[in-house]
Symmetry: C2
Subunit: 209 residues, 2 copies
């Protein structure tokens, strides 16, 4: 029987991968991983068993091998080209976020509508006029956009992206976008994440409704 990896497992595997990076070719136990993440070690063993990888009894997993296995399972080596639309503070910060590359995630270009920004470069990536996006998406076969425009422009720009053939929008704006079913939106809900963290972990006992 085959298993599909769920969202939660993917999220944890990425965290295991971060940990394994620090262990090079040493062995690491499920307990060591679990302790760092403050989760149960049966959860770690269950997730890793999904990869059909067996550790060495009483020694643990060979960090390097497990790291490679996670990379191939989650396709870190498959290049995923993306555009950043909105070269504001967040867009520029993400363009400089070198950590993406280790996961096969490549920012091909940025787009903006400000003549002050168009033509300049961020981390070696050029900022283009947004009008060039449909043509460049087509030419470079880019289907993913990281959306970092101001809230007030988010829906208009999303409509434009849909018309341009973009299939995935990683939405960093606080606006919930109205797009057809054929386009997938991932709402990067930083505030929601933060609230989960502070509300449920600090004042859980108080948060009854």
């Amino acid at each position: 029987m085959k298993n599909v990896i769920t969202d939660k497992v993917i999220n944890r595997l990425t965290l295991y991968h971060s940990i394994l990076t620090d262990f090079n070719d040493e062995y690491i136990s499920s307990t060591q991983i679990a302790d760092l993440l403050h989760i149960d070690n049966t959860q770690v063993r269950k997730d890793i068993a999904l990869l059909n990888y067996k550790g060495k009894c009483k020694v643990g997993y060979k960090a390097f091998d497990l790291k490679l296995l996670i990379e191939s399972t989650l396709r870190f080596k498959t290049v995923k080209n993306a555009f950043i639309v909105g070269a504001g503070n967040l867009g520029m910060a993400l363009a400089k976020y070198d950590n993406f590359e280790a996961y096969g995630f490549n920012i091909s270009a940025l787009f903006d509508n400000s003549f002050m920004k168009i033509g300049s470069k961020i981390n070696g990536k050029k900022i283009y006029d947004i009008d060039n996006l449909p043509d460049m998406a087509d030419r470079l076969n880019v289907q993913i956009v990281i959306l970092t425009v101001p809230r007030v422009n988010a829906q208009n720009v999303a409509d434009f992206l849909v018309k341009s053939g973009i299939k995935y929008i990683w939405n960093f704006t606080p606006c919930v976008l109205n797009v057809p079913d054929s386009v997938l939106v991932w709402n990067e809900n930083l505030i929601g994440n933060f609230l989960q963290f502070t509300v449920n972990h600090s004042i859980e006992k108080e948060l009854f409704i």
Copy 2:
């Protein structure tokens, strides 16, 4: 019987809140909310029922009232002071991210160890020498740190934060931190989020293991 709001519900309520912002004092139905988020409308109704809020039959919810109710339930009006540690690209972008304030999240100051940065201001917030953090955390009663230092410094800085009495670390570095149980770390796993999005939604059928 009382209910605790789970992480997933909090995340969705935050998204509903974003949508309601655009509706002012109009009515909105669970179906409208559900369609925008591409989720089931029974889920929306269930979440909102948790708040003990009843919509008007065949009309829906009064957007403004529901928005206020979410704000009070999730304590958007309670000010949560935080420091940003690491005034690099991401730290600076987050300092400029005005959207945090609507959720009661207030960045009191930034910290760095670079003399080039110390003393300057970002979005009206001053960058201080990291050595001043323990004293300022104590004086301003700040327990939350947004950590945006380079990976290589992340653990050392986390150790310093723990010693300084910081209780919550919102970790934007790709390093999984080793901290005592008394300190809570939220790993802002952008890559994990992104992979969930691309892997599971685009090539789900292929991702068998």
